[in-house]
């Protein structure tokens, strides 16, 4: 067990953080110049990873089977649209935070069933958020500013008077928000807040006997989760889709986030990023294979069907052999690597117990 050197972070964490930051701030912008990578991969990856962290908090850490992340994302996205439209003084960052809070309010409301039902039944109950929020946005024209076309164009992002409209600028906006929120999530997960979540997940009756309030902990987890989803939804709409339509936040997206959460590894923050990357990149990879190896001989619809089959298969395989997902797999590989390479490359740390 390593001692934290700064806040809750160990030396290893700080190195990881530094590597990630150098990669994302310096390496990626210098070497990746095609817009496609920013608009179709990096930006949605960051947004969906953020939503997956939200799903992790409620499902991976607190153990509440919830399905409806996309509903909260929709709440966040449309809250953002209306805030920028009606309360321009808030500014982009202010609106983003308030949209998160509005989504969190929905999270509290739809998290209440978790006090009475659990497991698969809770999953069904939380589906209500998915359908109710989308229905509400569709039903009341006010949310869409009485736009009849069905698709509203998102406003331009302006922070402190400066426009952020190029793909690279938007990537940096997403990166900044995701980094801050990820660090906050890590602090919570590793601190007393996270311990309460996990205690409720692992054995609720014992948690209660230790003075952990089930009501407060569950509702808190739902609220924080919805906050993350809300912010992610707002970024998703403003940086990736650049438009707002309720259909974009349908149940399919909720399932996608659920898959990211499970494949990435329940109860891990880095798993959210791994899972999101996998689910986003895998179809791209399949398409590339279809185009380059089979030269388009395979129909695109078949490829997308194959994608579903493989995702389904992977879910089953992971559930059986590695319920803790890819994050755990990665951890195991690192562990094996360490034991495989003997002290020759590791002389400095030889004999030192970590």
């Amino acid at each position: 067990m390593m001692k934290p050197v700064f806040m809750t972070y160990t030396k290893k964490d700080l190195i990881n953080l530094a590597v990630c930051m150098v990669l994302s701030v310096l390496v990626i912008p210098t070497f990746i110049t095609t817009e496609y990578w920013y608009t179709s991969i990096l930006i949605p990856w960051l947004c969906l990873a953020l939503a997956t962290i939200g799903q992790q908090i409620v499902m991976g850490y607190t153990g509440q089977l919830a399905l409806g992340a996309a509903g909260f994302m929709a709440a966040g996205a449309f809250a953002m649209f209306n805030l920028i439209l009606r309360v321009p003084d808030l500014g982009f960052v202010g609106s983003l935070i308030v949209s998160g809070l509005i989504a969190a309010a929905f999270g509290i409301l739809f998290g209440l069933p978790s006090l009475k039902v659990r497991g698969i039944y809770l999953m069904v109950a939380t589906l209500a958020s998915q359908f109710f929020i989308i229905w509400m946005i569709d039903k009341f024209g006010w949310f869409k500013n009485y736009d009849s076309s069905g698709i509203i164009t998102a406003q331009d992002i302006v922070i402190l008077g400066k426009p952020f409209t190029t793909p690279l600028a938007m990537y940096f906006v997403c990166l900044a928000v995701t980094t801050v929120l990820t660090l906050l999530a890590m602090n919570m997960a590793r601190g007393s807040t996270g311990r309460n979540w996990m205690a409720v997940r692992d054995m609720d009756i014992a948690a209660e006997s230790m003075g952990v309030s089930l009501l407060r902990t569950k509702v808190q987890a739902f609220a924080i989760s919805a906050f993350y989803c809300g912010v992610a939804g707002a970024l998703f709409a403003f940086c990736y889709l650049k438009s707002l339509e309720p259909v974009a936040f349908d149940i399919k997206l909720s399932f996608k986030i659920l898959f990211m959460c499970i494949l990435g590894g329940l109860g891990t923050i880095n798993g959210a990023f791994i899972g999101a990357a996998f689910i986003l990149l895998f179809p791209v990879l399949l398409n590339a294979i279809g185009n380059n190896v089979f030269h388009g001989a395979i129909d695109a619809t078949i490829i997308s069907s194959i994608e579903q089959v493989i995702f389904g298969g992977l879910m089953i395989i992971f559930m059986i052999y590695e319920p803790l997902g890819m994050a755990k797999l990665w951890e195991n590989i690192k562990q094996k690597w360490k034991t495989k390479i003997p002290s020759s490359t590791n002389l400095k740390s030889f004999g030192k117990k970590t």
């Binding site: 906050l184 007393s192 009756i205």
Partner: protein, 264 residues
């Protein structure tokens, strides 16, 4: 218990009066009363199905008895929940282990520090200085308990991977971490071998002796109970059939008949 005790046995701290509990038509406990004195080791014994665990669950608020009252620290508690009892200073362990399996030993014990954690999630998220201070205090206390229980070498192991005997110890540690004045132990020695049992007895007495914690324990092993308890209450079919010092209980004819079986 002849030697001088640092914490003298005092007034009743926990009083159970006329508790009746039934599940549908099955009466688990009928009109049961007993008390627990401050700083004593109190045992509840009885054959299988005598209502011992149900009794603890009533005291702790997991079950709601149909009749009767529980008074703790001189205060009659209406609407008992595990949470309220924890806040008042009553902690417990469970018969079938209720640990947080995917968390490390240290984290399990840290959850026991919940009631000594006052910072909220926002303060934790932003790691304010007071969070760090509080976390350090809680960690120090948990480490103390870990070395007290002699489990330093497993503190970072996920609890689910530990053998049964050690898990029982961790559960005791978690209850200790609450700094409660009363700890209810539901069969702390079930499924242990003789050596582990001896170990556990030693810890129970050590806790009682050094911290003055009142211990209420359920146990099957008569020998163990008689050795470490100050007073014993015997339940059979949900009723009290004997109450007193181990010697008194041992010579109580009803207890002999019901629990030890009629010999000779």
């Amino acid at each position: 218990m002849a030697q001088e005790r640092k914490f003298k046995i005092g007034k009743p701290i926990l009083e159970v009066k006329n508790i009746s509990l039934s599940f549908g038509g099955v009466k688990a406990i009928t009109d049961t009363s007993f008390d627990v004195l401050e700083h004593e080791v109190r045992a509840i014994i009885g054959p299988n199905g005598a209502g011992k665990s149900s009794m603890l669950n009533c005291i702790n608020g997991i079950y709601k008895p149909q009749q009767g009252t529980v008074s703790f620290k001189g205060q009659q508690i209406t609407n008992i929940t595990p949470n309220i009892m924890a806040q008042m200073g009553l902690s417990r362990t469970f018969q079938n282990l209720a640990l947080f399996k995917r968390m490390s030993v240290l984290d399990n014990i840290l959850v026991g520090r919940k009631l000594h954690t006052k910072t909220n999630f926002l303060e934790v998220a932003f790691q304010l200085p007071k969070v760090k201070k509080e976390e350090k205090e809680n960690r120090d206390r948990s480490e103390e308990i870990i070395s007290f229980l002699e489990i330093e070498d497993i503190k970072d192991t996920p609890v689910g991977k530990l053998p049964y005997g050690l898990q029982k110890k961790v559960e005791l540690g978690r209850a200790l971490a609450t700094d409660s004045s009363v700890i209810l132990l539901d069969e702390p020695m079930a499924g242990m071998n003789v050596e582990e049992k001896r170990d556990m007895c030693r810890f129970i007495l050590k806790v009682n002796d050094e911290l003055g914690t009142t211990m209420v324990l359920i146990e099957h092993d008569m020998g163990v109970v008689m050795d470490i308890s100050d007073r014993v209450v015997v339940l059979d079919y949900g009723k009290v059939i004997g109450d007193g010092t181990p010697d008194e209980v041992r010579s109580n004819q009803k207890v002999i008949d019901a629990y030890l079986g009629v010999e000779h």
